[in-house]
């Protein structure tokens, strides 16, 4: 799950876009990939209100950053065969995009060591060597071993209720523990990464595992799609391959007579990455003494102080920030160097979006801060 990071003051963001942070999307699409084969995904974004700009990875224009200003709210990189990008797309520039508030949707390459693959290590992802795609012989089916139906796994980002299996073809990745990284789709337990295409490759798999360390990428502890929420609240969606976004996989049957869950899954995952869903904002904070209404410049020891805050959640359907009272585990800290008081900040049932608590100021003199630090995966 990704994190909801709330600073003391939420950013006031224009509410005219589909996303909570803007609707311009740059798609770095490799020329060898047919744009028409991704029409379900791209048209879905356009219909939601996004303005898509397409660019080949080696084209110089439009630049992702100009005059130190990010030119797009979201950047999609679908370039599994491109080793060298134009000068403005480097691992460093992608990271600096994150600090400038741009969200990223990155598809890894199962074949080559691209800049996206090299960037993955910085986000706690551990990739198998290039050229070792995910293989599964289970269940018995008429597709290649590298085209795998994956049952969606419970995760805090993409709702899985009623979601049909998702076709996947690409590279799996292990990950080191990092609370900012949230796996969205795990590999099936029978699957593994291998470069062999015949049964005689069995020796190689055992030998790779014997090497120790990350010798064998196998099992459901691997992820195929993961979300990462950076400290500046920007989000990165890592996908093990571009094919899961394609029309071909979206229309492929994953259960008898039923289309796969791909179209729904990738749209929901993109909605999270583009900060449509699961976005919270603190609208205001206020504090005053009990039986008063105005805040004081100073409070003295043992005063009974009321602290309240108003929190909204972005509704992508209406592009409106709506009061949100659904947080049951919000906490308030009253801190001088260390928190002296940490108390729960419960919602006020009569007032949507309002959270309030009354507490007694500690009998210690000093400069205290009111702190709400609410981080959760998702």
């Amino acid at each position: 799950m990704a994190a909801w990071l709330l600073a003391l003051l939420g950013l006031a963001i224009s509410a005219c876009a589909k996303s909570s942070t803007g609707n311009s999307v740059l798609v770095l699409l490799e020329p060898s990939l047919d744009k028409a084969n991704f029409s379900t995904f791209f048209n879905g974004l356009t219909e939601s209100g996004y303005e898509l700009t397409f660019r080949a990875p080696r084209d110089a224009k439009p630049a992702v950053i100009e005059d130190d200003v990010a030119q797009f709210s979201h950047v999609v990189v679908f370039a599994p065969d491109t080793k060298s990008f134009a000068q403005d797309v480097t691992p460093q520039s992608l990271v600096s995009l994150l600090s400038k508030g741009t969200n990223l949707l990155l598809a890894l390459s199962p074949k080559k060591q691209t800049i996206v693959n090299s960037l993955a290590a910085e986000f706690s992802l551990i990739l198998p060597p290039p050229g070792t795609p995910l293989i599964s012989h289970f269940p018995e089916r008429d597709t290649p071993a590298t085209v795998i139906p994956v049952k969606p796994t419970e995760n805090p980002i993409v709702p899985t209720k009623g979601l049909l299996p998702v076709w996947f073809s690409g590279v799996p990745f292990a990950y080191s523990p990092n609370p900012l990284l949230v796996p969205i789709l795990n590999a099936p337990s029978e699957s593994f990464a291998a470069d062999s295409t015949t049964d005689s490759g069995a020796e190689g798999i055992v030998e790779a595992a014997d090497k120790g360390g990350e010798g064998l990428w196998a099992g459901s502890q691997l992820a195929l799609v993961a979300g990462f929420q950076a400290h500046g609240d920007t989000r990165v969606l890592w996908a093990g391959g571009v094919d899961m976004f394609s029309d071909e996989f979206a229309q492929k049957e994953s259960a008898k007579g039923q289309q796969s869950g791909n179209a729904q899954f990738v749209r929901d995952a993109a909605a999270w990455a583009f900060r449509e869903s699961k976005v919270l904002r603190i609208d205001s904070v206020a504090h005053h003494r009990v039986n008063e209404t105005e805040p004081r410049e100073t409070y003295t020891t043992n005063d009974h102080v009321v602290f309240n805050t108003h929190i909204s959640m972005f509704n992508p359907k209406t592009s409106v920030w709506e009061p949100y009272s659904g947080i049951s585990d919000l906490q308030l800290e009253f801190t001088m160097l260390d928190p002296h008081i940490r108390t729960s900040l419960p919602p006020v049932p009569s007032n949507p979006g309002e959270y309030e608590v009354t507490f007694r100021v500690p009998d210690r003199h000093g400069v205290f801060k009111f702190i709400i630090d609410y981080k959760r995966k998702g």
Binding site: A218, Q221, N302, R360
Partner: protein, 277 residues
């Protein structure tokens, strides 16, 4: 990823759809202790799971079987021969590949003195479900549930240093100092009387000796009395509000006046004593 590059795989996979199934022949496990004495050795029935296996920290589990085609007796080497260790409670899973010879014979050894890194974290209460996954480009895949395995509990992996901030944190209550205790009113009143008693005595004495200061309000002496009063007022002001710098400034100026007025007053008093006036 372009699918064309995998057309070879595709063809092979399609060819394998109707292929023969894989089966296990004479699967057997043996548990021996650290000093090589055999503790348990049984064939594995693929229909009924044996009693759960338990391994001590120095025990060795050996597993042997042969992979054959279901119809024939021909041994095969499948692409994928994995042992899957799964903890159903924690959801942790470990995959260990097994080396199979070209005749389909396989031996696997799990030495608890040197457990492989693929074994998931274990607890003493929950067993690991051990299953065998057989996958092949040429044969239908097969999956066999072998047995439940109790392993010695492993140390839990240390969580990420920031992990705790992503969960509700323990509440912190401030321990307030106890309220100040006020003594009973009678004791306070007695204390007040005790403190004020010398002043009563002093006032009594003053009334008795009736001191007279006839020149107090004379034009030469009163300024000195007034400046002394102003100094007292300044100290009171310092106590209430003023900063030290202000007090020193005002006090310095006032001291000059006080000194001049004092000199004048003393001279006048002296003159009065010697009867010059």
């Amino acid at each position: 990823m372009g699918l064309l590059s995998f057309c070879l795989l595709s063809l092979l996979a399609i060819a394998g759809v109707d292929a023969a199934q894989l089966s296990l022949q004479s699967p057997r496990f043996t548990i021996s202790s650290g000093d090589a004495s055999q503790l348990r050795s049984e064939p594995i029935s693929l229909k009924q799971r044996p009693e759960p296996l338990k391994l001590a920290p120095t025990d060795v589990l050996k597993l042997s079987f042969q992979v054959v085609e279901k119809d024939g007796e021909k041994g095969v080497q499948p692409h994928q021969t994995f042992l899957r260790f799964f903890d159903a409670v924690s959801g942790e899973e470990g995959i260990q590949p097994v080396r199979v010879s070209s005749s389909g014979k396989a031996k696997f050894e799990l030495n608890m003195a040197k457990p492989p890194g693929s074994i998931p974290p274990t607890t003493a209460e929950n067993p690991l479900n051990v299953s065998l996954l057989l996958g092949s480009f040429e044969h239908s895949p097969a999956r066999y549930e072998l047995f439940d395995l109790f392993l010695p509990a492993s140390q839990s992996a240390p969580p990420h240093e920031l992990e705790h901030t992503f969960h509700p944190q323990p509440l912190i209550h401030h321990t307030f100092r106890p309220e100040q205790k006020v003594p009973p009113r009678i004791i306070s009143a007695a204390g007040a009387i005790l403190v004020l008693a010398p002043w009563v005595v002093l006032v009594g004495f003053l009334a008795h000796i009736k001191p007279s200061v006839p020149q107090l309000l004379s034009i030469n002496i009163f300024p000195f009395i007034a400046t002394l009063g102003a100094s007292e007022a300044l100290l009171f002001w310092y106590w209430v509000d003023l900063k030290l710098g202000d007090v020193l400034l005002y006090g310095g100026v006032l001291a000059l006046f006080t000194a001049a007025a004092g000199k004048k007053a003393l001279a006048t008093k002296g003159d009065l004593r010697v009867g010059r006036k």
